[in-house]
Symmetry: C2
Subunit: 377 residues, 2 copies
């Protein structure tokens, strides 16, 4: 099987320190070394999420964490507001509906940056929750969640604001408490550069006060009690916990520099695409969004006229790279290239050169490479 | 950190072929190679579970699979019967209660083998479900689930019988359809010798007909639709799927020999303990249970008078082995030694010799090893 380098917005190229840990022998999750790692990861993630509250580790993908937090904070019938402008904000709405919440969907064009005032205008005194998506991975938008939380809470101080930080944690500045968020969710296979299989749920003080026991496997009250002592309530993916401790020990001491590097790489991807005349996806009031609203998790562009996703994906695969297409209504209309995973600086320079070369070739030959070049590829 | 060899009934020593795969680079779960592995694992597990139905992979521990199947097959208020004779059968009862089912607990002494007639006697025309635990890992009992299913269904042909096969799959003979079971659950970190993080849910024809969409992350209807095409509905722990394919390719062609080897190893553990005068836990009608009711997943013995769990655990740790104590009402009363993980035959001979030596030493010195021996340990 030919090795594909992942330029997808998750899963991503693994951190080499994580791979080292993951090749090791199994340890038992109910022993002192395991509890030590578990508590260290919870503490490290509290710093990463920027909260004085709690962070819980769940053996699920990010979606499991989203459902756990929605179930733990709200009751069937509760009115929650969900602006939907991409696949992952739509997921919040679907989860709320599956849990029997009274979901008010605010349907917006996919790819648009959320407008704080427009959202706040929909908040009423009986709105119990607001579900936001910080980095909307499906469109490349970084939403201004702090501003939204601020104006929304002016309308209703009791509102609980929950953010999907799946592809913003370790990629864009994040600070749960300071941003006025009450809860957030992330996962292992994104900015932390681990394989999938762990979700992280951050709970601020107001969320902790509101938390109720729900269901069994995703019951955050039970997890909180167990995890304060350094163990998941059920068998945790302890090998991912050990790998998380390892990567956190590298990332946390230089988090600001790491975020700047990631943002710089992503800006370089946008510069290459725009230099070739491609139109970036994130939009604000109909025009390309300023850089501040481009998620550092991925660069997203509209497919140029006449270029199919299949030809573009194939051209990248010939060079050994896996990129991502669009999702939902943007399927077949946009493509995404991400440097979210682990790369050395030298690799990034080579990848950026290759991205520019592949895009240039495809723009010249939108029906696919000429036969000779295909043979030698 | 000193390396501990796991003689615990899960997690276990990993299969070396799994470790090789797990040290590899990340692949993307929505690509052809990933779908190929996903479908191969589902097919391989259908053979292992012995069903013409379906097997679904969930990115959870085994407990997540238990909740998913209980939620998918039953509705709030449904009457379900749960014989409780250990920690994992108790978990079925807790899950049923958390889901709002009308749970009838049949409370039995922990460590007893279930009596088919006594259970059947509690089945009524309105009993919708029966939750069983095939290998009750907490006590070392292998319950006669096929016999129970048979007599219980004679009382109520509509009954759905669900089995926890977490520590019986790949350890004891299992055949969902032939044993008259409707659904079963297992997990990656037991007989398959992988790290924790994947649950397996097997559904026979009657279970597939009864399946309803429930919740979001644990919604088996949605998973079934997605997994028929080779993908989890959400991000799967694809690295564990790849490792599962690898281990299945070794185990399935020689499954009978593998089961006989595992049973033989476990019988050797029991022979050593009984040779030293220890009393095995599994009991039938008050007396030690015949071999057929000893789970090959673990040997379990009562702690001899005057020997504490702490001293025994410590003595094994000095030799580099991690064993398990009791749980629930058996905490501090029993201990468990398991050869469920991967070992070469030569290692097993050494481990069995060490187990006999450690047990012999502790029985001679129940207050712990003399100081000189402790220093040289």
């Amino acid at each position: 099987m030919k090795r594909e380098i992942l330029l997808t917005p998750g899963p991503v190229e693994l951190h080499p320190r994580a791979r080292l840990v993951l090749s090791g022998p199994q340890i038992h999750h109910r022993t002192e070394p395991a509890r030590g790692a578990f508590l260290a990861v919870r503490e490290g993630l509290k710093r990463a999420f920027g909260t004085e509250g709690e962070v819980l580790l769940l053996t699920t993908s990010g979606t499991g964490g989203m459902e756990a937090v929605a179930a733990g904070l709200f009751s069937p019938g509760d009115r929650v507001l969900v602006p939907v402008s991409g696949k992952f904000s739509e997921r919040w709405a679907e989860i709320g509906e599956a849990l029997g919440l009274s979901v008010e969907r605010l349907s917006l064009p996919w790819g648009e940056v959320l407008d704080p005032e427009a959202i706040a205008a929909r908040v009423t005194p009986d709105t119990r929750g607001l579900f936001l998506t910080h980095s909307e991975t499906s469109t490349g938008v970084l939403n201004p969640v702090a501003e939204i939380a601020k104006v929304a809470r002016e309308r209703n101080p009791e509102l609980l604001v929950v953010a999907d930080a799946v592809t913003s944690l370790f990629l864009a500045p994040f600070a749960l408490d300071a941003m006025g968020l009450d809860a957030a969710v992330s996962g292992s296979q994104k900015g932390l550069m681990l394989p999938p299989g762990l979700a992280f749920v951050a709970l601020g003080d107001r969320a902790l006060s509101a938390l109720k026991p729900r269901g069994y496997y995703l019951n955050l009250v039970r997890e909180l009690e167990s995890q304060r002592a350094g163990e998941g309530a059920y068998t945790s993916a302890i090998q991912l916990v050990l790998a998380a401790r390892e990567v956190l020990s590298v990332l946390l001491p230089e988090l600001d520099a790491h975020l700047e590097r990631k943002a710089h790489w992503n800006r370089s991807l946008y510069a290459i695409g725009e230099g070739l005349g491609l139109v970036p996806v994130p939009a604000k009031e109909g025009a390309p969004a300023p850089e501040a609203f481009q998620s550092p998790a991925t660069a997203a562009f509209y497919l140029p006229e006449g270029v199919s996703q299949k030809v573009l994906t194939g051209a990248f695969l010939e060079r050994g790279y896996r990129i991502a297409g669009g999702q939902g209504p943007l399927k077949g209309r946009i493509f995404r290239v991400s440097l979210m995973g682990h790369f050395a600086e030298g690799e990034v320079r080579r990848i950026l050169a290759d991205v520019e070369a592949v895009l240039g070739e495809v723009l010249l030959n939108p029906d696919g490479p000429p036969r000779a070049s295909r043979r030698s590829g």
